[in-house]
Symmetry: C2
Subunit: 185 residues, 2 copies
């Protein structure tokens, strides 16, 4: 799926994209955005899987998001504010990405209703995902959040190494191992 | 400050608002949005303070957000998806609100660049606030988050009852009391 396909299916229009895009292929392990970099792009994952992570004060990594086929992603706070990114985005598999340059998007925002509709739509989706995650942190135990992940993302959970899932849940890998054993038994 | 003033100062345009608004006064303790309601409005706080809360499985309340003068707020996931709200929004003080009806906003989104720019801008701000809170949950202790709150919101923290701050931090009021004592000593 391309960004044009996404626009057609989610915004119900055949209007051509109001900005140029380019497609790149990246190998598993490639860093897309580094910590400290000022984000200048929005990415659409045509194929593959990426992760966004942050580093805790104690040097431990935490994963804030996984992205899959047909997701938009970016170090979006950095993209909006043009402050250095505090997340790192990495390819978990070989990836095929479609890229929108910030300058092109801002230019389109100035005149194109479609660009603004798309920007608002994607931002709404990102907002709702973050809100859900906040509610989960406030109201659910790590065990409940793990069970939700198994339930909601059964198709992809097996592709993610277990130590990365622990970093996403915000718990130690040993705690997650104990959790898995108690669920299985 | 009105929504028109907000648009002028944040979006740098004198264009008139592309939707009607109405101003209402509500007493302290009034419920603006109830759990289970489908949100049909976006609110701008001309004056006052509100809170958004959710109920945990164990019947304990958690506060997801406080809103102050010149903030937009809404049960925004419900507003977008038109699913029942799982947050409740309440006036913590007497409030003067300016209201945009969803039907008016969606109508404006269909034709107005300014409506889409404003919708995108407000959603970006909401996204960034949620992202910051997610990072805080993943990387900071309750003590650090409390110190941040004192530091960043010194102007308003004293207006919020201490048991509400505990609900916002996701900890027991007793834990917050101990924390406050250890900080003071």
């Amino acid at each position: 799926m391309t960004i044009a396909d996404y626009v057609k299916s989610h915004l119900h229009t055949d209007e051509p994209l109001p900005f140029p895009t380019q497609v790149v292929l990246l190998k598993k392990g490639s860093e897309i955005t580094t910590v400290g970099q000022i984000e200048q792009r929005v990415y659409f994952l045509q194929r593959g899987m990426t992760e966004a992570s942050i580093i805790k004060d104690d040097d431990h990594e935490r994963i804030v998001d996984f992205f899959f086929d047909h997701n938009f992603f970016s170090s979006y706070t950095s993209f909006i504010t043009q402050q250095p990114s505090n997340v790192r985005i990495t390819c978990l598999t070989d990836c095929q990405l479609e890229i929108i340059e910030r300058a092109d998007l801002l230019h389109a925002y100035g005149t194109s209703l479609l660009a603004n509709r798309l920007g608002r739509y994607i931002t709404e989706q990102a907002y709702m995902a973050k809100t859900q995650r906040e509610k989960d942190f406030l109201t659910k135990t790590a065990e409940q959040r793990y069970l939700d992940l198994i339930h909601n993302r059964a198709d992809i959970i097996h592709q993610i190494p277990i130590h990365k899932i622990a970093k996403y849940l915000g718990i130690h890998p040993e705690s997650l191992s104990r959790l898995r054993k108690s669920i299985i038994s």
